[in-house]
Protein backbone atom coordinates (compact mmCIF):
# COMPACT_ATOMS: atom_id res chain seq x y z
CA UNK A 1 0.00 0.00 0.00
CA UNK A 2 1.45 3.40 -0.90
CA UNK A 3 1.80 5.87 1.90
CA UNK A 4 -0.79 8.24 0.43
CA UNK A 5 -3.39 5.49 0.25
CA UNK A 6 -2.59 4.50 3.81
CA UNK A 7 -3.01 8.11 4.95
CA UNK A 8 -6.35 8.41 3.19
CA UNK A 9 -7.52 5.16 4.74
CA UNK A 10 -6.48 6.15 8.27
CA UNK A 11 -8.07 9.56 7.76
CA UNK A 12 -11.39 8.14 6.59
CA UNK A 13 -11.57 5.61 9.43
CA UNK A 14 -10.84 8.33 12.01
CA UNK A 15 -13.40 10.64 10.38
CA UNK A 16 -16.09 7.95 10.40
CA UNK A 17 -15.42 7.10 14.04
CA UNK A 18 -15.46 10.77 15.04
CA UNK A 19 -18.66 11.41 13.07
CA UNK A 20 -20.35 8.56 14.91
CA UNK A 21 -19.28 9.69 18.37
CA UNK A 22 -22.24 12.03 19.10
CA UNK A 23 -24.60 9.11 18.37
CA UNK A 24 -22.79 6.83 20.78
CA UNK A 25 -22.04 9.37 23.54
CA UNK A 26 -24.43 12.32 23.27
CA UNK A 27 -23.46 13.76 26.67
CA UNK A 28 -22.78 17.48 26.49
CA UNK A 29 -19.50 17.30 28.38
CA UNK A 30 -17.95 14.71 26.06
CA UNK A 31 -19.06 16.63 22.98
CA UNK A 32 -17.75 20.02 24.10
CA UNK A 33 -14.44 18.53 25.22
CA UNK A 34 -14.13 16.79 21.85
CA UNK A 35 -14.81 20.09 20.08
CA UNK A 36 -11.99 21.65 22.09
CA UNK A 37 -9.83 18.69 21.06
CA UNK A 38 -10.59 19.44 17.39
CA UNK A 39 -9.52 23.06 17.84
CA UNK A 40 -6.23 22.13 19.51
CA UNK A 41 -5.67 19.36 16.99
CA UNK A 42 -5.95 21.85 14.11
CA UNK A 43 -3.36 24.12 15.73
CA UNK A 44 -1.06 21.22 16.48
CA UNK A 45 -1.31 19.73 12.98
CA UNK A 46 -0.48 23.10 11.41
CA UNK A 47 2.27 23.85 13.91
CA UNK A 48 3.80 20.49 13.08
CA UNK A 49 4.19 21.66 9.48
CA UNK A 50 6.39 24.59 10.54
CA UNK A 51 8.20 22.77 13.35
CA UNK A 52 8.53 19.24 12.05
CA UNK A 53 8.51 19.61 8.27
CA UNK A 54 9.94 23.09 7.79
CA UNK A 55 12.39 22.65 10.64
CA UNK A 56 11.70 26.23 11.75
CA UNK A 57 11.71 26.38 15.51
CA UNK A 58 8.83 28.83 15.78
CA UNK A 59 6.89 29.30 18.99
CA UNK A 60 4.60 31.87 17.39
CA UNK A 61 1.78 29.45 16.63
CA UNK A 62 -0.26 30.43 19.67
CA UNK A 63 0.25 34.07 18.73
CA UNK A 64 -1.17 33.31 15.27
CA UNK A 65 -4.05 31.44 16.89
CA UNK A 66 -4.66 34.46 19.10
CA UNK A 67 -4.44 36.73 16.05
CA UNK A 68 -7.20 34.73 14.38
CA UNK A 69 -9.34 34.76 17.49
CA UNK A 70 -8.87 38.47 18.12
CA UNK A 71 -9.36 39.40 14.47
CA UNK A 72 -12.65 37.49 14.39
CA UNK A 73 -13.85 39.07 17.61
CA UNK A 74 -12.83 42.59 16.61
CA UNK A 75 -14.31 42.35 13.12
CA UNK A 76 -17.59 41.29 14.71
CA UNK A 77 -17.47 43.76 17.57
CA UNK A 78 -16.39 46.93 15.79
CA UNK A 79 -17.62 46.44 12.24
CA UNK A 80 -20.48 44.01 12.84
CA UNK A 81 -19.09 41.66 10.20
CA UNK A 82 -21.08 38.43 10.15
CA UNK A 83 -19.06 35.61 11.67
CA UNK A 84 -19.15 33.41 8.58
CA UNK A 85 -17.24 36.14 6.73
CA UNK A 86 -15.16 37.22 9.71
CA UNK A 87 -13.54 33.83 10.32
CA UNK A 88 -12.00 33.49 6.82
CA UNK A 89 -10.96 37.15 7.00
CA UNK A 90 -9.27 36.37 10.32
CA UNK A 91 -7.45 33.54 8.57
CA UNK A 92 -6.12 36.07 6.04
CA UNK A 93 -5.06 38.42 8.85
CA UNK A 94 -3.20 35.53 10.47
CA UNK A 95 -1.47 34.81 7.17
CA UNK A 96 -0.32 38.43 6.98
CA UNK A 97 0.99 38.34 10.56
CA UNK A 98 2.54 34.90 9.96
CA UNK A 99 4.35 36.15 6.84
CA UNK A 100 5.68 39.15 8.78
CA UNK A 101 6.98 36.87 11.53
CA UNK A 102 8.36 34.53 8.89
CA UNK A 103 10.20 37.42 7.20
CA UNK A 104 11.64 38.53 10.53
CA UNK A 105 12.90 34.99 11.18
CA UNK A 106 14.26 34.23 7.70
CA UNK A 107 17.89 35.02 8.39
CA UNK A 108 17.93 33.55 11.88
CA UNK A 109 19.06 30.10 13.00
CA UNK A 110 17.23 27.58 15.21
CA UNK A 111 17.35 28.89 18.78
CA UNK A 112 17.26 32.54 17.70
CA UNK A 113 13.98 31.81 15.93
CA UNK A 114 12.52 30.24 19.06
CA UNK A 115 13.49 33.21 21.19
CA UNK A 116 12.35 35.81 18.69
CA UNK A 117 8.94 34.19 18.19
CA UNK A 118 8.50 33.76 21.93
CA UNK A 119 9.35 37.44 22.36
CA UNK A 120 6.84 38.48 19.69
CA UNK A 121 4.08 36.49 21.39
CA UNK A 122 5.04 38.07 24.71
CA UNK A 123 4.91 41.60 23.25
CA UNK A 124 1.41 40.98 21.95
CA UNK A 125 0.33 39.68 25.36
CA UNK A 126 1.90 42.57 27.27
CA UNK A 127 0.45 45.18 24.92
CA UNK A 128 -3.05 43.72 25.22
CA UNK A 129 -3.01 43.24 28.98
CA UNK A 130 -1.43 46.60 29.84
CA UNK A 131 -3.76 48.59 27.61
CA UNK A 132 -6.22 50.33 29.93
CA UNK A 133 -7.30 53.35 27.87
CA UNK A 134 -10.95 53.23 26.86
CA UNK A 135 -11.36 52.85 23.12
CA UNK A 136 -15.14 52.78 23.20
CA UNK A 137 -17.46 53.44 26.10
CA UNK A 138 -20.53 51.71 24.74
CA UNK A 139 -21.44 49.17 27.39
CA UNK A 140 -18.65 50.20 29.74
CA UNK A 141 -15.03 51.11 29.21
CA UNK A 142 -13.38 48.90 26.65
CA UNK A 143 -9.77 49.10 25.42
CA UNK A 144 -9.05 48.52 21.73
CA UNK A 145 -8.08 44.88 22.26
CA UNK A 146 -10.39 44.30 25.20
CA UNK A 147 -7.65 44.52 27.83
CA UNK A 148 -7.52 41.90 30.57
CA UNK A 149 -11.20 41.01 30.30
CA UNK A 150 -11.16 40.32 26.59
CA UNK A 151 -13.80 40.88 23.94
CA UNK A 152 -17.28 39.40 23.95
CA UNK A 153 -20.60 39.94 22.17
CA UNK A 154 -19.34 39.82 18.61
CA UNK A 155 -21.90 37.55 17.02
CA UNK A 156 -22.27 33.89 16.23
CA UNK A 157 -22.17 31.58 13.24
CA UNK A 158 -25.89 31.04 13.64
CA UNK A 159 -25.87 27.41 14.76
CA UNK A 160 -27.02 28.36 18.25
CA UNK A 161 -30.15 29.92 16.78
CA UNK A 162 -30.67 27.06 14.33
CA UNK A 163 -30.37 24.23 16.87
CA UNK A 164 -31.27 25.87 20.20
CA UNK A 165 -30.82 22.74 22.32
CA UNK A 166 -28.29 20.83 20.25
CA UNK A 167 -25.97 23.64 19.13
CA UNK A 168 -22.97 22.04 20.76
CA UNK A 169 -23.40 18.97 18.53
CA UNK A 170 -23.54 21.27 15.49
CA UNK A 171 -20.31 22.95 16.67
CA UNK A 172 -18.80 19.51 17.09
CA UNK A 173 -19.37 18.75 13.43
CA UNK A 174 -18.05 22.17 12.35
CA UNK A 175 -14.89 21.51 14.36
CA UNK A 176 -14.57 18.03 12.88
CA UNK A 177 -14.96 19.37 9.34
CA UNK A 178 -12.32 22.06 9.94
CA UNK A 179 -9.96 19.47 11.37
CA UNK A 180 -10.54 17.19 8.37
CA UNK A 181 -9.61 20.02 6.01
CA UNK A 182 -6.58 20.96 8.11
CA UNK A 183 -5.33 17.36 8.14
CA UNK A 184 -5.90 17.04 4.38
CA UNK A 185 -3.85 20.18 3.80
CA UNK A 186 -1.12 18.86 6.05
CA UNK A 187 -1.01 15.56 4.11
CA UNK A 188 -0.83 17.48 0.82
CA UNK A 189 1.98 19.65 2.15
CA UNK A 190 3.97 16.75 3.62
CA UNK A 191 3.56 14.40 0.66
CA UNK A 192 3.57 17.12 -2.00
CA UNK A 193 6.18 19.46 -3.49
CA UNK A 194 6.58 21.54 -0.32
CA UNK A 195 7.41 18.52 1.78
CA UNK A 196 9.69 17.22 -0.96
CA UNK A 197 11.52 20.55 -1.08
CA UNK A 198 12.10 20.56 2.66
CA UNK A 199 13.24 16.93 2.62
CA UNK A 200 15.67 17.79 -0.17
CA UNK A 201 16.96 20.81 1.74
CA UNK A 202 17.46 18.65 4.82
CA UNK A 203 19.13 15.71 3.09
CA UNK A 204 21.48 17.62 0.81
CA UNK A 205 21.20 21.40 1.13
CA UNK A 206 23.93 22.10 -1.43
CA UNK A 207 22.41 19.98 -4.17
CA UNK A 208 18.87 21.16 -3.40
CA UNK A 209 19.88 24.82 -3.58
CA UNK A 210 21.84 24.33 -6.78
CA UNK A 211 18.69 22.84 -8.29
CA UNK A 212 16.93 26.12 -7.51
CA UNK A 213 15.07 25.19 -4.34
CA UNK A 214 14.96 28.40 -2.35
CA UNK A 215 14.70 27.85 1.40
CA UNK A 216 13.36 31.37 1.94
CA UNK A 217 10.54 30.92 -0.52
CA UNK A 218 9.42 27.60 0.92
CA UNK A 219 9.78 28.81 4.49
CA UNK A 220 7.47 31.71 3.75
CA UNK A 221 5.01 29.38 2.05
CA UNK A 222 4.87 26.99 4.94
CA UNK A 223 4.45 29.88 7.39
CA UNK A 224 1.55 31.23 5.32
CA UNK A 225 -0.24 27.90 4.90
CA UNK A 226 -0.02 26.97 8.55
CA UNK A 227 -0.98 30.48 9.67
CA UNK A 228 -4.20 30.39 7.65
CA UNK A 229 -5.70 27.34 9.33
CA UNK A 230 -4.36 28.29 12.72
CA UNK A 231 -6.13 31.64 12.34
CA UNK A 232 -9.35 29.93 11.32
CA UNK A 233 -9.08 27.63 14.33
CA UNK A 234 -8.69 30.76 16.44
CA UNK A 235 -11.79 32.25 14.86
CA UNK A 236 -13.80 29.12 15.57
CA UNK A 237 -12.49 29.12 19.14
CA UNK A 238 -13.74 32.70 19.53
CA UNK A 239 -17.20 31.82 18.21
CA UNK A 240 -17.39 28.63 20.23
CA UNK A 241 -16.51 30.24 23.57
CA UNK A 242 -18.13 33.61 22.74
CA UNK A 243 -15.25 35.48 24.35
CA UNK A 244 -11.58 36.07 23.52
CA UNK A 245 -9.21 37.03 26.29
CA UNK A 246 -5.46 37.22 26.79
CA UNK A 247 -5.51 33.71 28.32
CA UNK A 248 -4.94 32.33 24.80
CA UNK A 249 -1.35 33.53 25.16
CA UNK A 250 -0.79 31.63 28.42
CA UNK A 251 2.39 29.64 28.72
CA UNK A 252 0.57 26.56 30.01
CA UNK A 253 -1.44 26.35 26.77
CA UNK A 254 1.80 26.59 24.80
CA UNK A 255 3.28 23.85 26.99
CA UNK A 256 0.17 21.71 26.51
CA UNK A 257 0.28 22.01 22.71
CA UNK A 258 4.02 21.52 22.31
CA UNK A 259 3.72 18.44 24.52
CA UNK A 260 1.06 17.10 22.13
CA UNK A 261 3.42 17.40 19.16
CA UNK A 262 6.44 15.97 20.95
CA UNK A 263 4.59 13.08 22.57
CA UNK A 264 2.83 12.22 19.33
CA UNK A 265 5.90 12.51 17.15
CA UNK A 266 7.40 15.62 15.58
CA UNK A 267 7.24 15.82 11.79
CA UNK A 268 4.90 12.90 11.21
CA UNK A 269 1.39 13.14 9.77
CA UNK A 270 -0.60 11.34 12.43
CA UNK A 271 1.73 11.80 15.39
CA UNK A 272 0.47 15.25 16.44
CA UNK A 273 -3.16 14.10 16.22
CA UNK A 274 -2.36 11.04 18.28
CA UNK A 275 -0.50 13.20 20.79
CA UNK A 276 -3.41 15.64 21.00
CA UNK A 277 -5.84 12.78 21.68
CA UNK A 278 -3.58 11.16 24.27
CA UNK A 279 -2.95 14.42 26.11
CA UNK A 280 -6.60 15.49 26.11
CA UNK A 281 -7.47 12.11 27.65
CA UNK A 282 -4.59 12.31 30.12
CA UNK A 283 -5.72 15.82 31.03
CA UNK A 284 -9.21 14.52 31.74
CA UNK A 285 -7.67 11.80 33.88
CA UNK A 286 -5.67 14.38 35.84
CA UNK A 287 -8.64 16.69 36.34
CA UNK A 288 -9.09 15.32 39.87
CA UNK A 289 -5.49 16.26 40.66
CA UNK A 290 -5.72 19.70 39.11
CA UNK A 291 -2.83 21.03 41.23
CA UNK A 292 -0.51 18.43 39.82
CA UNK A 293 -1.61 18.88 36.21
CA UNK A 294 1.26 21.11 35.12
CA UNK A 295 3.78 19.04 37.07
CA UNK A 296 2.59 15.90 35.29
CA UNK A 297 2.58 17.68 31.94
CA UNK A 298 6.12 18.98 32.42
CA UNK A 299 7.39 15.57 33.50
CA UNK A 300 5.71 13.86 30.54
CA UNK A 301 7.25 16.37 28.16
CA UNK A 302 10.77 15.98 29.56
CA UNK A 303 10.59 12.19 29.83
CA UNK A 304 9.29 11.78 26.29
CA UNK A 305 11.91 14.05 24.73
CA UNK A 306 14.69 12.27 26.59
CA UNK A 307 13.53 8.68 26.27
CA UNK A 308 11.41 8.62 23.09
CA UNK A 309 12.36 11.64 20.96
CA UNK A 310 10.32 10.29 18.04
CA UNK A 311 7.19 10.12 20.14
CA UNK A 312 4.39 7.58 20.08
CA UNK A 313 4.38 7.58 16.29
CA UNK A 314 8.05 6.58 16.12
CA UNK A 315 7.43 3.89 18.70
CA UNK A 316 4.49 2.49 16.71
CA UNK A 317 6.52 2.47 13.50
CA UNK A 318 9.44 0.73 15.17
CA UNK A 319 7.24 -1.98 16.63
CA UNK A 320 5.61 -2.51 13.23
CA UNK A 321 8.98 -2.67 11.51
CA UNK A 322 10.10 -5.16 14.17
CA UNK A 323 7.18 -7.46 13.40
CA UNK A 324 7.39 -7.21 9.63
Amino acid sequence: MTSIRRDILIGLVCLALAAALPLAMPGRYVITQSTLFFIWAIVVVQWNLVLGIGGIFSLAQMALFATGAYATAMLGFYWKVPMLAAIPMAGVVSVAVGMLIGLACLRLRGPYVALLTLAIAQVMYVLIVNDTDCFTTTGGCMPLFGGVRGIGQFGDIGLRALFPSKWYIAHYYVGLALLAVAVTISIIVIRGPLGLAFRALRDNPGYAMSRGISRFKYQLWIFAVSAFFTGIAGGFYAVHFRVVGPTVFSFSTLLFLIAMIVIGGLGSIWGPLLGAAVLMLADEGMRELSDYRNIGLGLLLAVFVIAWPNGLNGWLQRSRAGRG
Binding site: A104, Y112, V126, P205, G298, A307
Partner: protein, 292 residues
Amino acid sequence: MDVLIQIIASGLTLGAMYAVATIGLSLVYGSLNMLNMAHGAILTLGGYICYAAIVHAGLNPALALLAAAFVCALVGLLIYFSAALPLLRAENFETNIFIATIGIGSVIENLMLKGFGPYPIPQPLAVEGQVVIGNVHIPLQNVFILGVAIVLMVAVAILLQRTSTGRAIRATSMNREAAQLMGVRVGRVYAQVLALSGALAAVSGVMISSIATLTPVMGADPMLKAFIVCVVAGLGNVYGAVIAAIALGLLEAATQYVLGVRWSFATLLLLVILVLIWRPYGLFGKQQVVRL
Protein backbone atom coordinates in the same frame (compact mmCIF):
# COMPACT_ATOMS: atom_id res chain seq x y z
CA MET B 1 19.87 66.44 36.18
CA ASP B 2 18.11 64.68 39.04
CA VAL B 3 16.07 62.72 36.54
CA LEU B 4 19.22 61.62 34.78
CA ILE B 5 20.78 60.42 38.05
CA GLN B 6 17.57 58.58 38.87
CA ILE B 7 17.49 56.89 35.47
CA ILE B 8 21.15 55.91 35.65
CA ALA B 9 20.80 54.59 39.19
CA SER B 10 17.80 52.39 38.49
CA GLY B 11 19.10 51.45 35.04
CA LEU B 12 22.40 50.25 36.49
CA THR B 13 20.57 48.20 39.13
CA LEU B 14 18.35 46.60 36.50
CA GLY B 15 21.30 46.04 34.21
CA ALA B 16 23.35 44.44 36.97
CA MET B 17 20.52 42.03 37.80
CA TYR B 18 20.03 41.13 34.15
CA ALA B 19 23.76 40.65 33.71
CA VAL B 20 24.00 38.12 36.54
CA ALA B 21 20.94 36.29 35.23
CA THR B 22 22.39 36.31 31.72
CA ILE B 23 25.97 35.17 32.38
CA GLY B 24 24.78 31.71 33.35
CA LEU B 25 22.53 31.34 30.31
CA SER B 26 25.26 32.59 28.02
CA LEU B 27 27.91 30.26 29.47
CA VAL B 28 25.61 27.28 29.05
CA TYR B 29 24.75 28.18 25.49
CA GLY B 30 28.39 28.88 24.67
CA SER B 31 29.66 25.52 25.79
CA LEU B 32 26.71 23.17 25.24
CA ASN B 33 24.61 24.93 22.57
CA MET B 34 21.81 24.55 25.05
CA LEU B 35 19.06 27.08 25.68
CA ASN B 36 18.06 26.42 29.24
CA MET B 37 14.35 27.22 29.47
CA ALA B 38 14.36 26.12 33.13
CA HIS B 39 16.63 29.06 34.00
CA GLY B 40 13.72 31.23 35.14
CA ALA B 41 12.41 28.52 37.44
CA ILE B 42 15.88 27.97 38.94
CA LEU B 43 16.17 31.70 39.51
CA THR B 44 12.85 31.72 41.39
CA LEU B 45 13.89 28.65 43.35
CA GLY B 46 16.99 30.53 44.52
CA GLY B 47 14.79 33.33 45.82
CA TYR B 48 12.54 30.90 47.71
CA ILE B 49 15.43 28.90 49.19
CA CYS B 50 16.96 32.10 50.52
CA TYR B 51 13.59 33.09 52.00
CA ALA B 52 13.05 29.68 53.57
CA ALA B 53 16.59 29.57 54.95
CA ILE B 54 16.20 32.95 56.66
CA VAL B 55 12.61 32.71 57.85
CA HIS B 56 12.17 29.00 58.58
CA ALA B 57 15.72 27.80 59.33
CA GLY B 58 16.85 31.04 60.94
CA LEU B 59 20.09 31.19 58.99
CA ASN B 60 22.28 34.26 58.70
CA PRO B 61 21.39 36.11 55.43
CA ALA B 62 24.87 35.59 53.93
CA LEU B 63 24.67 31.87 54.64
CA ALA B 64 21.15 31.78 53.23
CA LEU B 65 22.40 33.29 49.98
CA LEU B 66 25.13 30.62 49.83
CA ALA B 67 22.58 27.90 50.57
CA ALA B 68 20.39 29.14 47.71
CA ALA B 69 23.37 29.15 45.35
CA PHE B 70 24.35 25.65 46.48
CA VAL B 71 20.87 24.15 46.04
CA CYS B 72 20.47 25.71 42.60
CA ALA B 73 23.91 24.49 41.56
CA LEU B 74 22.70 21.00 42.51
CA VAL B 75 19.58 21.53 40.38
CA GLY B 76 21.87 22.51 37.49
CA LEU B 77 23.83 19.29 37.96
CA LEU B 78 20.61 17.33 38.11
CA ILE B 79 19.53 18.84 34.79
CA TYR B 80 22.88 17.87 33.31
CA PHE B 81 22.70 14.24 34.40
CA SER B 82 18.98 13.68 33.82
CA ALA B 83 18.43 15.63 30.58
CA ALA B 84 21.51 17.03 28.88
CA LEU B 85 23.71 13.93 29.17
CA PRO B 86 21.23 11.47 27.60
CA LEU B 87 20.17 14.00 24.94
CA LEU B 88 23.75 14.79 23.91
CA ARG B 89 24.05 11.21 22.69
CA ALA B 90 21.04 11.56 20.37
CA GLU B 91 20.35 13.76 17.36
CA ASN B 92 18.75 17.21 17.37
CA PHE B 93 20.24 18.16 20.72
CA GLU B 94 19.39 21.88 20.43
CA THR B 95 15.69 21.34 19.79
CA ASN B 96 15.26 18.47 22.22
CA ILE B 97 17.01 20.09 25.16
CA PHE B 98 14.97 23.25 24.59
CA ILE B 99 11.73 21.28 24.86
CA ALA B 100 12.97 19.12 27.73
CA THR B 101 13.97 22.15 29.79
CA ILE B 102 10.57 23.75 29.16
CA GLY B 103 9.13 20.64 30.84
CA ILE B 104 11.64 20.70 33.70
CA GLY B 105 11.03 24.40 34.28
CA SER B 106 7.30 23.81 34.47
CA VAL B 107 7.82 21.03 37.03
CA ILE B 108 10.05 23.20 39.26
CA GLU B 109 7.70 26.18 38.98
CA ASN B 110 4.62 24.18 39.90
CA LEU B 111 6.40 22.43 42.77
CA MET B 112 7.16 25.89 44.17
CA LEU B 113 3.53 26.84 43.64
CA LYS B 114 2.55 23.78 45.71
CA GLY B 115 5.19 24.41 48.37
CA PHE B 116 5.01 28.16 48.88
CA GLY B 117 1.58 29.11 47.53
CA PRO B 118 0.70 31.59 44.80
CA TYR B 119 0.78 34.72 46.98
CA PRO B 120 3.67 37.20 46.83
CA ILE B 121 6.10 36.98 49.75
CA PRO B 122 8.60 39.74 50.58
CA GLN B 123 12.25 38.70 50.41
CA PRO B 124 13.72 39.04 53.93
CA LEU B 125 17.24 39.64 52.61
CA ALA B 126 17.01 43.42 52.54
CA VAL B 127 19.37 46.27 53.27
CA GLU B 128 17.87 49.33 54.97
CA GLY B 129 18.81 52.94 54.39
CA GLN B 130 19.62 55.09 51.40
CA VAL B 131 22.29 57.26 49.83
CA VAL B 132 21.57 60.78 48.66
CA ILE B 133 23.13 62.11 45.45
CA GLY B 134 21.98 65.62 44.63
CA ASN B 135 18.26 65.51 45.39
CA VAL B 136 17.92 61.84 44.54
CA HIS B 137 17.47 59.20 47.22
CA ILE B 138 18.93 55.87 46.16
CA PRO B 139 18.07 52.88 48.38
CA LEU B 140 21.11 51.08 49.78
CA GLN B 141 19.44 47.92 48.48
CA ASN B 142 20.24 49.03 44.93
CA VAL B 143 23.84 49.80 45.83
CA PHE B 144 24.09 46.40 47.49
CA ILE B 145 22.74 44.67 44.37
CA LEU B 146 25.18 46.54 42.17
CA GLY B 147 28.04 45.57 44.51
CA VAL B 148 27.11 41.88 44.58
CA ALA B 149 26.74 41.85 40.81
CA ILE B 150 30.14 43.44 40.25
CA VAL B 151 31.82 41.02 42.67
CA LEU B 152 30.19 38.07 40.90
CA MET B 153 31.10 39.31 37.44
CA VAL B 154 34.71 39.86 38.44
CA ALA B 155 34.78 36.39 40.02
CA VAL B 156 33.39 34.81 36.85
CA ALA B 157 35.87 36.73 34.70
CA ILE B 158 38.79 35.55 36.88
CA LEU B 159 37.45 32.01 36.76
CA LEU B 160 37.22 32.11 32.98
CA GLN B 161 40.54 33.84 32.30
CA ARG B 162 42.91 32.73 35.05
CA THR B 163 42.06 29.16 36.05
CA SER B 164 42.48 25.88 34.23
CA THR B 165 38.75 25.17 34.67
CA GLY B 166 38.01 28.45 32.92
CA ARG B 167 40.42 27.65 30.13
CA ALA B 168 38.67 24.32 29.63
CA ILE B 169 35.30 26.08 29.50
CA ARG B 170 36.57 28.59 26.95
CA ALA B 171 38.20 25.90 24.87
CA THR B 172 35.01 23.84 24.83
CA SER B 173 32.89 26.75 23.71
CA MET B 174 35.37 27.63 20.95
CA ASN B 175 35.53 24.16 19.48
CA ARG B 176 34.13 21.14 21.19
CA GLU B 177 35.92 18.48 19.12
CA ALA B 178 39.29 20.17 19.27
CA ALA B 179 38.99 20.61 23.03
CA GLN B 180 38.10 16.96 23.40
CA LEU B 181 41.10 15.94 21.29
CA MET B 182 43.37 18.07 23.46
CA GLY B 183 42.28 16.09 26.49
CA VAL B 184 39.63 18.41 27.93
CA ARG B 185 37.00 16.35 29.69
CA VAL B 186 34.06 17.90 27.95
CA GLY B 187 31.48 16.13 30.10
CA ARG B 188 32.99 17.57 33.24
CA VAL B 189 33.04 21.04 31.70
CA TYR B 190 29.32 20.75 30.88
CA ALA B 191 28.51 19.70 34.45
CA GLN B 192 30.59 22.56 35.88
CA VAL B 193 28.99 25.12 33.59
CA LEU B 194 25.45 24.02 34.43
CA ALA B 195 26.19 24.05 38.17
CA LEU B 196 27.78 27.50 37.91
CA SER B 197 24.84 28.75 35.89
CA GLY B 198 22.43 27.43 38.53
CA ALA B 199 24.33 29.18 41.32
CA LEU B 200 24.40 32.48 39.42
CA ALA B 201 20.69 32.17 38.70
CA ALA B 202 20.02 31.68 42.41
CA VAL B 203 21.89 34.85 43.35
CA SER B 204 20.12 36.89 40.70
CA GLY B 205 16.79 35.43 41.87
CA VAL B 206 17.48 36.59 45.42
CA MET B 207 18.43 40.06 44.17
CA ILE B 208 15.41 40.41 41.90
CA SER B 209 13.01 39.25 44.61
CA SER B 210 14.53 41.68 47.11
CA ILE B 211 13.40 44.57 44.90
CA ALA B 212 10.08 43.08 43.79
CA THR B 213 8.47 40.18 45.67
CA LEU B 214 8.68 36.40 45.58
CA THR B 215 6.07 34.64 43.46
CA PRO B 216 6.35 31.27 41.72
CA VAL B 217 6.17 32.91 38.28
CA MET B 218 8.54 35.79 38.94
CA GLY B 219 11.36 34.08 37.01
CA ALA B 220 9.61 34.24 33.64
CA ASP B 221 10.15 37.94 33.06
CA PRO B 222 13.87 38.10 33.99
CA MET B 223 14.46 34.93 31.96
CA LEU B 224 12.89 36.43 28.87
CA LYS B 225 14.98 39.57 29.37
CA ALA B 226 18.10 37.47 29.89
CA PHE B 227 17.35 35.69 26.63
CA ILE B 228 16.89 39.03 24.91
CA VAL B 229 20.25 40.17 26.26
CA CYS B 230 21.85 36.93 25.06
CA VAL B 231 20.32 37.29 21.62
CA VAL B 232 21.31 40.93 21.27
CA ALA B 233 24.86 40.15 22.35
CA GLY B 234 25.09 37.00 20.27
CA LEU B 235 24.30 33.68 21.96
CA GLY B 236 27.22 32.35 23.98
CA ASN B 237 29.17 35.61 24.10
CA VAL B 238 29.60 36.16 27.86
CA TYR B 239 31.37 39.52 27.87
CA GLY B 240 29.08 40.92 25.18
CA ALA B 241 26.16 39.77 27.34
CA VAL B 242 27.34 41.85 30.30
CA ILE B 243 27.63 44.97 28.15
CA ALA B 244 24.27 44.33 26.50
CA ALA B 245 22.61 43.64 29.87
CA ILE B 246 23.73 46.96 31.33
CA ALA B 247 22.81 48.81 28.13
CA LEU B 248 19.35 47.22 28.14
CA GLY B 249 18.90 48.01 31.84
CA LEU B 250 19.69 51.69 31.22
CA LEU B 251 17.47 51.70 28.15
CA GLU B 252 14.62 50.12 30.08
CA ALA B 253 14.90 52.70 32.85
CA ALA B 254 14.95 55.49 30.27
CA THR B 255 11.94 54.20 28.30
CA GLN B 256 10.06 53.66 31.55
CA TYR B 257 10.58 57.29 32.39
CA VAL B 258 9.89 58.67 28.92
CA LEU B 259 7.09 56.39 27.66
CA GLY B 260 5.78 54.83 30.88
CA VAL B 261 6.16 51.29 32.26
CA ARG B 262 3.51 50.00 29.90
CA TRP B 263 5.51 50.54 26.75
CA SER B 264 9.02 49.86 28.00
CA PHE B 265 9.00 46.10 27.44
CA ALA B 266 7.39 46.39 24.03
CA THR B 267 9.92 49.01 22.97
CA LEU B 268 12.77 46.80 24.12
CA LEU B 269 11.46 43.85 22.16
CA LEU B 270 10.88 45.92 19.07
CA LEU B 271 14.48 47.06 19.29
CA VAL B 272 15.66 43.48 19.63
CA ILE B 273 13.69 42.40 16.59
CA LEU B 274 15.26 45.22 14.60
CA VAL B 275 18.74 44.31 15.85
CA LEU B 276 18.18 40.70 14.84
CA ILE B 277 17.01 41.61 11.38
CA TRP B 278 20.02 43.88 10.96
CA ARG B 279 22.55 41.49 12.54
CA PRO B 280 21.03 37.99 12.79
CA TYR B 281 23.92 36.68 14.89
CA GLY B 282 23.75 39.44 17.52
CA LEU B 283 25.72 42.63 18.02
CA PHE B 284 28.93 40.98 19.24
CA GLY B 285 28.36 37.57 17.70
CA LYS B 286 30.46 36.22 14.89
CA GLN B 287 28.74 35.24 11.69
CA GLN B 288 28.99 31.52 11.26
CA VAL B 289 29.89 30.60 7.73
CA VAL B 290 28.14 27.42 6.78
CA ARG B 291 29.98 25.41 4.17
CA LEU B 292 27.91 22.96 2.24
